[in-house]
């Protein structure tokens, strides 16, 4: 029984989609965590205190 036959073109497209998704998640994850944290926090701190590091 043969498996699902994919053309070379389809394989390349799938690899490209996966690569793009990985890149988007890679650079978008931390901004996403910051955005969700910012909109969901009841008493929002100042933006500077939120993103930077007060010592």
């Amino acid at each position: 029984m043969s498996g699902l036959a994919l053309s070379e073109e389809s394989k390349e497209r799938i690899v490209k989609i996966l690569d793009t998704t990985t890149t988007v998640v890679h650079y978008g994850w931390i901004p996403f965590v910051l955005y969700v944290g910012w909109i969901s926090t009841p008493n929002r701190p100042s933006l500077i205190k939120y993103v930077y590091f007060p010592v």
Binding site: I30, G37, S40, V51, F53
Partner: protein, 445 residues
């Protein structure tokens, strides 16, 4: 010492009543904290802060020699207010230093109130390493009071560039169910298409409607049996291991843990024994044996805790029971307290009733209950002493017969900073040397 983000994850688990000690992955934690601690390499400094009770961030710098400075930037968000969060100034050291785990599995399943049900907490975490730009991500979502879904991801750019692959991406999914009687984990790791199942079953835990967080006579001892099964779909390799853990308290209230782990595929058997001899000290030993190669190894280790202020020092030993009462008290592994008098009662009851023996039995029964209560009080007292002790530093030490190395680590607090330093000494007779040395400094506000 726990990293800042690991500490936050623990705060999240404690706050949402999630017991990691009841998961198979953590069944060997007590011995691993002493015999397999991680010595810092190079110099690492991290500054962390909480911008709100829901948002936390951390920045760290690391120099591992060769003149290169690496860093990382991390953000953490949770929908649940971390009320138990403490800054490095106020944090008790026993919360951030990995040591003996006091296993106290509750006898009731957790359940949410109507208010909590609508707010099942979740957690988001992201860390970017610089200048490599590698990324680490984690998300945890509580599905029910006893089930959670965990997603972890790592994307490493250019680890060792090759013509075929210049990045490494790995995703792992964990579906965890954690009940008082058993726990279960279903795992999928994308890197090798690895499927895993983990189970842990606690013997003898009985449901008690009046469950209290303190130790009572029903959970003095816990016997747990766990196993894990792995299957790598890509290379069709199986994996299997099984572990037995017995935790209890000695008659003087000292907690002790015995484990027996076996991996039949690799042919390894290992036993560990850890005991907290007093508030300041834990001793641990481990014996490994491989029944395919007949190789064996013995590892021993200890940790020693220190107080800064002599006035706050609690009694190092638990209050021992009077010797007469000690004879009467026999804790059993099946979470029951059986007294010799009760056994006597069974045998004597078949004989013709005698007024004097009846009186004696009643006296012994009362004495037995009194002894049991005193023992539970002794254990609770000792446990509280460990939890509330104002420790200022801890020294860990381990060595093994096979490797001829001594690993040393000192962890402590200086002003508002958490420090961790250690080294690995190679005691080879021909070329003794220091294999690794490092210092880690953490500050959080």
């Amino acid at each position: 010492m726990l990293e800042y983000m690991e500490y936050l994850e623990q705060c999240f688990a404690k706050n949402s009543q999630w017991d990691y000690n009841n998961l198979y992955e953590h069944v060997l934690d007590s011995s691993a904290s002493i015999l397999q601690f991680k010595i810092p390499h190079g110099f690492k400094f991290s500054v962390s802060s909480s911008s709100s009770p829901y948002n936390y961030n951390s920045i760290s710098f690391e120099n591992r020699g060769k003149g290169r400075l690496n860093g990382s930037l991390a953000y953490f968000y949770t929908t649940q207010e971390l009320s138990n969060y403490k800054t490095s100034k106020n944090i008790p050291l026993q919360d951030v230093i990995d040591s003996y785990r006091l296993v106290n599995i509750p006898k009731n399943d957790r359940s949410y109130t109507d208010n909590e049900e609508s707010k099942r907490p979740w957690l988001l975490y992201g860390r970017m390493y610089l200048p490599s730009q590698s990324m680490e991500a984690m998300a945890i979502k509580r599905l029910t009071a006893n089930t959670q879904l965990m997603l972890k991801g790592v994307n490493i750019l250019n680890p060792t560039p090759t013509p075929f692959n210049n990045k490494l991406t790995s995703l792992s999914f964990y579906l965890q169910s954690n009940y008082y009687k058993w726990s279960r984990e279903a795992i999928f790791l994308s890197s090798d298409a690895l499927f895993g199942l983990r189970f842990l079953y606690n013997f003898g835990n009985s449901t008690n409607p009046q469950c209290t967080p303190s130790i009572d006579s029903n959970n003095i001892s816990t016997l747990s049996l766990g196993t894990e099964l792995w299957y790598g779909a890509m290379n069709m390799t199986p994996g299997l291991s099984t572990t037995l853990r017995y935790t209890s308290f000695s008659v003087t209230g000292n907690p002790l843990t015995f484990t027996l782990a076996c991996n039949p595929i690799l042919g390894s058997v290992s036993t560990t024994y850890s005991i907290k001899t007093n508030v300041f000290t834990t001793l641990c030993s481990k014996f490994d044996f491989n029944f395919y190669s007949y190789e064996s190894d013995l590892t021993i280790g200890c940790d020693l805790w220190r107080f800064g202020n002599n006035e706050d020092v609690p009694d190092s030993n638990p209050t021992p029971l009077p010797s007469k009462e000690r004879e009467l008290f026999i804790p059993l592994h099946d979470h029951q307290l059986v007294f010799p008098e009760q056994e006597k009662a069974k045998t004597i009851s078949n004989e013709p009733k005698d007024y004097e023996s009846d009186l004696l039995l009643k006296f012994l029964e009362i004495q037995g209950i009194k002894t049991a209560r005193q023992s539970v009080a002794t254990i609770n007292n000792f446990t509280q002493k460990i939890k509330n002790a104002p420790f200022t530093s801890a020294l860990k030490l381990n060595t093994s017969l096979k490797n001829h190395t001594v690993n040393l680590m000192w962890e402590g607090k200086y002003n508002d900073f958490l420090l961790s330093t250690g080294c690995s000494l190679n005691l080879d007779l021909k070329r003794p040397n220091v294999d690794g040395f490092g210092l880690q400094i953490q500050y959080s506000s």
